[in-house]
Amino acid sequence: MQRNNQEVKTPLISLNSIDVTFPLPSGPAIHAVSDVNLTIQKGEIFGIVGLSGAGKSTLARVINLLQKPTKGSVEINGVPVTHYTGAKREKLRQNIGMIFQHFNLISGSSVAKNIEFNLRASGYDTEKIQGRVTELLSLVGLSDRSHAYPSQLSGGQKQRVAIARALANNPEILICDEATSALDPETTNEIVGILRSINQEFHITIVFITHQMEVAKKLFDRIAVMDAGHIVEINDTYTLFTEPKHICSQRLVERIIDVEIPEELVVKDGEVLLKITYTGQKAYNPIIATVVRLFAIDLSIVNGQIEYINGKPIGVLVVLISGDQEKRALALQYLQENTSKIEVIQKEQLV
């Protein structure tokens, strides 16, 4: 499931020391993005995650110059574009599709006309426009809705029109700004599926902004975590989920991988409450059965969860171990050696 291993990595988007500040008429300026350095490779699905107000949308808009950076430079394919204006900037934007949380379709135009707008924007051959619109609509499975108006479509359908529109001019880059945040989980999966397949089919580079870790887990190759205008951590998705370093990353990952410990649970003398995290191949080993057999301890599973990220498992298990001191210690040692991480949970922590 690792996606881009067949391709040679070539940087497509480079953001160098990007600062974006918004001056306020009263008081100090808002520092939306601070000193961001980022390189996004050709063909990857790159996620920028963070809480709202972290500056991710502003950062995404720097890529297609909807937001001019206060400081720093943007390079696309190694060419500095930060200073682009007029026709040059228009040309750049035609190479960068963008979809939005609230779809932002032209409400007074039909589905076909919405897509046609993007083609006209790039000066597409007028005679070929109809054919291209038909092609794009079938790509997103909306061939029968070309005459419908946006208000007659569901959220998922609107986003599919937006995707078709964004792909109209065969852009190299697709920016998704919270593109699934206004959709229900089922529709979110549908859109995630479409994005993944266009990434594979057209090798389009996707930059996806979101606060939804479910989407991050399913879609991204690499993730940058943003907090208060800074990028605090960048890693491949699996590593970020299994070993989040920054507190902000840990909080975000906890939303996906978290196990609750019931408040009623009382840890008695001679018992130990343990949180076991296992990743990669270790997740497949029959570790629990082995430890019970080897050390003759009692082990009850309190809670547990297994997630698959890019096809690789990450599991968390909370167990209560009872038995005599010596056996417990041996069991703990064995678990320590054969899993990724174990944490003894103190009773105080439960409150």
Partner: protein
């Protein structure tokens, strides 16, 4: 009494109605052409992703405010020299159309500006993100999205113009309103007053209903 009213109406009503139509039509065309362009300019120059320009926006906005702050009855008089320059006379419906047009342009420009301002910012942003040239954004996004609101703005301007045209009598512009003043008020011809008022009410109602119908047709 009734015979007198009827004969007065027979004599003047048709002419007065034609004069009102002439004045309203000329100034409405001016409002549609220049007022819409000015309103669009005001919107474009105040919107960051389009052609935001505070200086140009203040100049255009100041000009509109200047005209809008002068009461129409005074504008009628103030513009007399300009009227003479443009149409060669200061009397009659054509002459009255000049100040009426000024008023209509400024009035309509503000309505158009606010119609465009109602467009969802996200839609504008997404159209700018496509790399479309401004001309395409104006014709295929701004005018499309603001269409129902623009039609309503035209209706409001039209109805206001019918009202303002009643004051045109001051400069000998004639029209239905003038007829009501001249006969209905100065000569105590209540019958004439009643008929002209009813006629104005009917015209305005008709304009409003038609405008609403067209606007609703464009709502998606």
């Amino acid at each position: 009494m009734i015979e007198n009213t009827l004969s007065l109406l027979q004599q003047y009503l048709l002419k007065a109605t034609a004069e009102t139509f002439e004045m309203v039509l000329i100034s409405l065309i001016a409002a549609l052409a220049i007022g819409t362009a000015l309103g669009l300019f005001l919107f474009l120059t105040k919107t960051p992703l389009l052609i935001e320009n505070k200086v140009l926006n203040s100049i255009a906005g100041g000009l509109v405010n200047l005209i809008r702050s002068i009461p129409f009855i005074i504008l009628l008089v103030v513009l007399i020299p300009l009227t003479k320059l443009i149409v060669g006379t200061t009397i009659g419906p054509l002459a009255a159309s000049v100040p009426l047009s000024f008023c209509a342009i400024a009035f309509h420009a503000r309505l158009v500006e606010s119609s465009f301002s109602e467009i969802d910012r996200g839609v504008i942003e997404s159209s700018v993100a496509t790399g479309a040239p401004l001309s395409l954004i104006i014709t295929k996004v701004l005018f499309v999205e603001a269409r129902p609101s623009l039609v309503r703005a035209i209706t409001v301007t039209l109805v206001s113009l019918i009202g303002y045209s009643a004051m045109a009598g001051i400069v000998g512009g004639g029209g239905i309103g003038d007829l009501a003043i001249q006969f209905g008020y100065y000569r105590y011809e209540t019958g004439v007053m009643v008929v002209t008022v009813i006629l104005l009410v009917v015209i305005v109602q008709f304009a409003q209903i038609l405008g609403d119908k067209i606007a609703n047709h464009f709502v998606r």
